[in-house]
Amino acid sequence: MNKSENIALTEAVFYILLALHQALHGYGIMQETQKLTKGRLNLSAGTLYGALSALMEKSWIKALESEEESRKKEYIITELGKSVFKAELDRLQELVQNGKKVITQ
């Protein structure tokens, strides 16, 4: 059951993976995404939680073990996640190139 090969990432997943190139907790991801998109993309807590659970199941990201119980749970991208992200970047590049080719003709 691997439907996610060769398909486009959702915008939410794209930015979550991008943000998680550094270790962040949930709220940090929301803030980072807002910062990167200058407030255009607002991930609601529900969406983010759902996406994080799905990404962990796919092993694209992992939760960092924290020594203290009280500390906020942090997440970081895995090697597999990085390769998925890289492939998506290539796909987006192709998208932009093809688009520009037609538009600038």
Binding site: T10, E11, A12, M30, R40, L43, S44, A45
Partner: protein
């Protein structure tokens, strides 16, 4: 200043209920506690908080729900009340924690949880209908004995009541299915 309000919202009117809580917030009444048909408000700044009703797949005490609630807390979202699997959440309006740029996805996942909830209610109703028929049939041969007659009467009443409710439920679920189809259609063009 505090006040307690009793107000009835039907299960399927959660959108109306949410709107009402946000209207109260606009008037400066901030919800601090909610349970079945009872709401406690405290006078605060108008529009200070935003409210949202969510449905959990499992009760709040379950591990899965706990980790979600913990996650919400870290994002500055407070749990102000609960009623079965429904939770009442609030967040400072300035935090924009409920504002989503991905409404289609949010809507669909919410609708799916509502449907799951309705399915379990429907199953319970069907179980009640079956139970009452079994009761009536089992007591068939004991006609004339007062205790048996009483329970047969009880079974008939229960059977009739749950059948009527189940029928109303069918219409409710049809409405829900329509909403679901719309949400899936939306997903073709937006996230």
């Amino acid at each position: 200043m505090k006040k307690t309000v009793r107000k009835v919202f039907f299960l399927w009117d959660y959108e109306k209920e949410e709107r009402w809580l946000n209207e109260m917030s606009q008037k400066g009444w901030q919800l601090t506690w909610a349970s079945f048909r009872k709401y406690r408000f405290e006078k605060g700044e108008p529009g200070q908080y935003e409210y949202k009703l969510e449905l959990l797949e499992k009760k709040t005490a379950a591990t899965e729900s706990k980790s979600y609630l913990e996650f919400l807390k870290e994002a500055g979202i407070e749990l102000v009340g609960e009623c079965r699997n429904w939770i009442y959440l609030r967040s400072k309006t300035a935090d924009k924690a409920f504002v989503s740029s991905k409404p289609c996805l949010d809507e669909l996942s919410h609708l799916m949880k509502v449907q799951q909830f309705q399915n379990s209610l429907r199953n319970m109703l069907m179980l009640m209908v079956v139970f009452s028929f079994v009761l009536i049939l089992a007591l068939e041969e004991f006609t004339g004995i007062p205790v048996a007659d009483f329970f047969r009467g009880f079974g008939t009443g229960l059977g009739l009541a749950s059948s009527v409710i189940a029928l109303c439920f069918v219409f409710l679920m049809k409405k829900q299915n329509r909403k679901m189809k719309e949400a899936i259609k939306e997903l073709y063009t937006c996230e």
